[in-house]
């Protein structure tokens, strides 16, 4: 009788300890993929420039976290971002595929040339361009991330990047 109760109590104690350890781990450790995607996304510069080949920072974060994409594809983030990502994911840091830009730039529309085609407005990933069809467009420079995505679609080449001091 005592042998059985000892066995039951031992097992119950082990179950309790394991349960506590698991609940602690789920609270403290990055377990789910979603959580990891968020953490990676947090480290990316959020320019949404798509230079990495993914349509924005979060998609790239997802690719890094779940598909094992390379961590050196983000030029705006620079070497700092690569080393932080390497630290988070326990991977080797590697050199950037493309040199990082120096300083912050924003796009500027030459408003005299703008024909109001809305192409740039539709291309902006952060809705930083305002303007209606056949009316002059302009860029909210405080919201512009300098991703350059608006430059190529412009049919009259009236958008350029300008360094911000």
């Amino acid at each position: 009788m005592t042998a059985i109760s000892i066995a039951v109590l031992t097992l119950a104690a082990i179950a309790l300890i394991a349960g506590l350890a698991l609940s602690f781990a789920s609270g403290r450790l990055p377990a789910s993929d979603d959580n990891l995607v968020d953490q990676v996304n947090e480290l990316l510069p959020q320019t949404q420039c798509a230079q990495c080949g993914y349509p924005g920072c979060r998609p790239y974060a997802k690719a890094i976290a779940t598909e094992g994409a390379a961590i050196n594809l983000c030029p705006p983030g620079g070497d700092d971002t690569v080393s932080r990502l390497a630290e988070l994911l326990g991977r080797e840091p590697m050199p950037l595929v493309e040199a990082a830009p120096v300083g912050r730039s924003v796009a500027v529309i030459d408003e005299a040339l703008c024909i109001g085609c809305t192409h740039c407005r539709n291309a902006c990933p952060v809705d930083a361009i305002v303007g209606a069809h056949q009316l002059m467009h302009t860029i909210i420079s405080s919201e512009c991330t300098g991703c350059e995505l608006c430059i190529a679609p412009c049919p009259v080449d009236c958008i350029s990047l300008r360094r911000v001091a």
Partner: protein
């Protein structure tokens, strides 16, 4: 109670520095004549620059509003004399150590004609506090102690807190500077009058005027004025002359024995601090309708023949003021705007005097303290730090660019007083390193905030695109369902219409 009192809190660390003030305070305040050209920077205060409201070629009168405050933290700017606006352009300014910033250039006509005064305002004590604060805002008054925080906004913020004390800061602890000292000597009544206006605007009953013990004449004059008006609410406090007891948080601790929490403001512990010159400027504006267009500045140092305090119009260039004081001596090598501890070295004397300029220091060559050596962890810096930080440890983290530890060791609480530099046996420029590190931390925080905003906007846009797509699909589905319901005839009708459209 109008006698100087001694019941004080304690200040950690600090230094007793030789004052170098007597040369300037031996003279009365001289009035600098209005120069031919006045340079008025639009950013003379902390916060958003003022917005010019005058055009080039426009004639303005002395005291006329020429730039409005813009944004939630800003102060307007008034013409310092009458004349013509000749340019709005970039000009060297002291905030940027002599690099150019946007300025309004006013060519004076020598008549110094003041603008017509508004109709007689009612006495201030009949006005509601918020009306009074609006008036103070219009006077372009900013904190004249050095931080140049727009005064009205500081008062408005303070009015949202539980306040107990108003403290007027007459503790001019930095060597060489004596403009507040002479102001209290010659204009004690204005200072006290400003205190009364502030007490009314804030609804407070206690005001301490804190003055250092090495300013006996200022103390004497203030005591006389207080005896004369016998206002029970205003009490004079004498504090020891230890640098930096005039720092805002340090003074609060000295006067009330309450410590301002890390990252907090004096208003968190029921205190509001204003400089004595700010109080006098408020008095001049409310009682005499003179906006802040001139201030008292100390011209001193061993690079000029005679040290003195002058009252100069805002916008007078440093070159004009130095000429007035007798020009440079041959040994003059360095020009500093502000004091030797916290001032900025500027590269040109074309910079104008602004509302913040309390001192122009012309120095001969200062002997170099010696080359920078490695830190030997002696701890002298920690002993003198008035904020009780550990500069040697912060230096370590600043070298390693370790932002997290710099924050947790309180770098953001550093007041950049320079005491640690002075005592460091290895001549490490600690304050300069901390200033740089603080700039970096601020930049990183800005970047992070921008990234966060961009992320939210990106996500909001994606959601919107998805929603649009969904709506289009639903509409299409509805049309399809309607067509199906109508049967073969309806479909043939639609196809016919489409064909006709294509032909057109």
């Amino acid at each position: 109670m109008t006698a100087a009192t001694y019941d004080l809190g304690t200040l950690h660390g600090g230094l007793r520095l030789s004052a170098h003030k007597s040369a300037a305070t031996a003279n009365p305040i001289y009035e600098v004549p209005v120069p031919g050209q006045l340079i008025l920077p639009i950013a003379q205060h902390v916060g958003d620059p003022a917005q010019p409201i005058v055009g080039i070629g426009e004639r303005v009168l002395k005291g006329q509003l020429i730039a409005e405050s813009e944004g939630s933290l800003s102060a307007p700017i008034h013409a310092s004399s009458s004349g013509k606006i000749v340019a709005i352009e970039r000009w060297p300014i002291s905030r940027r150590n002599g690099d150019p910033g946007p300025c309004i250039v006013l060519e004076t006509d020598g008549e110094d004609r003041p603008i017509e005064r508004w109709e007689e305002a009612p006495p201030y004590d009949t006005l509601a506090p918020d009306v009074l604060l609006q008036m103070i805002l219009q006077g372009g008054i900013v904190g004249l102690g050095g931080a140049v925080f727009p005064t009205a906004q500081k008062l408005m913020q303070a009015n949202t807190c539980e306040l107990e004390y108003l403290i007027l800061n007459g503790v001019e602890c930095e060597p060489y500077i004596s403009c507040d000292d002479v102001l209290m000597r010659e204009h004690a009544a204005e200072v006290v009058g400003g205190a009364q206006i502030l007490l009314h605007a804030l609804g407070l009953d206690i005001c301490y005027i804190a003055v250092e013990s090495d300013k006996p004449e200022a103390l004497h004059k203030l005591t006389d004025v207080l005896n004369e008006i016998s206002d029970e609410r205003i009490v004079l406090k004498q504090v020891p002359s230890i640098y930096p007891s005039g720092g805002e948080d340090q003074l609060v601790q000295l006067v009330t024995n309450r410590e301002v929490p890390s990252g907090g403001l004096p208003t968190d512990i029921g205190c509001l601090v204003q400089n004595v010159a700010t109080a006098a400027a408020i008095y001049d504006w409310i009682e005499k309708h003179e906006p802040l267009i001139s201030r008292i500045t100390t011209i001193t140092g061993d690079g000029i023949p005679m040290a003195m305090n002058v009252r100069a119009r805002v916008g007078t260039t440093v070159a004009d003021v130095v000429n007035f004081a007798g020009g440079y001596t041959e040994s003059a090598k360095q020009l500093i705007i502000g004091g030797p501890m916290t001032g900025r070295s500027v590269t040109t004397d074309r910079v104008p005097l602004v509302k913040a300029t309390n001192c122009v220091l012309v120095m001969s060559e200062t002997p170099s303290p010696g080359p920078e050596m490695p830190c030997i962890r002696c701890g002298d810096c920690a002993a003198v730090c008035p904020v009780q930080l550990l500069p040697q440890q912060l230096f370590w983290y600043a070298c390693a660019d370790d932002e997290k530890n710099m924050r947790s060791y309180g770098l953001t609480d550093c007041i950049e007083c320079g005491c640690c530099d002075l005592v460091c046996p290895s001549h490490i420029p600690l304050t300069a390193d901390f200033r740089k590190a603080k700039g970096r931390i601020r930049e990183q925080a800005d970047e992070k905030a921008r990234a966060e905003r961009a992320r939210r906007r990106f996500e909001a846009r994606n959601e919107r695109l998805e929603r649009d797509e969904q709506e289009r699909k639903e509409e299409l589905d509805q049309q399809k369902a309607a067509a199906k319901k109508g049967g073969a005839a309806a479909i043939a009708e639609i196809l016919k219409r489409k064909k006709k459209q294509d032909e057109d």
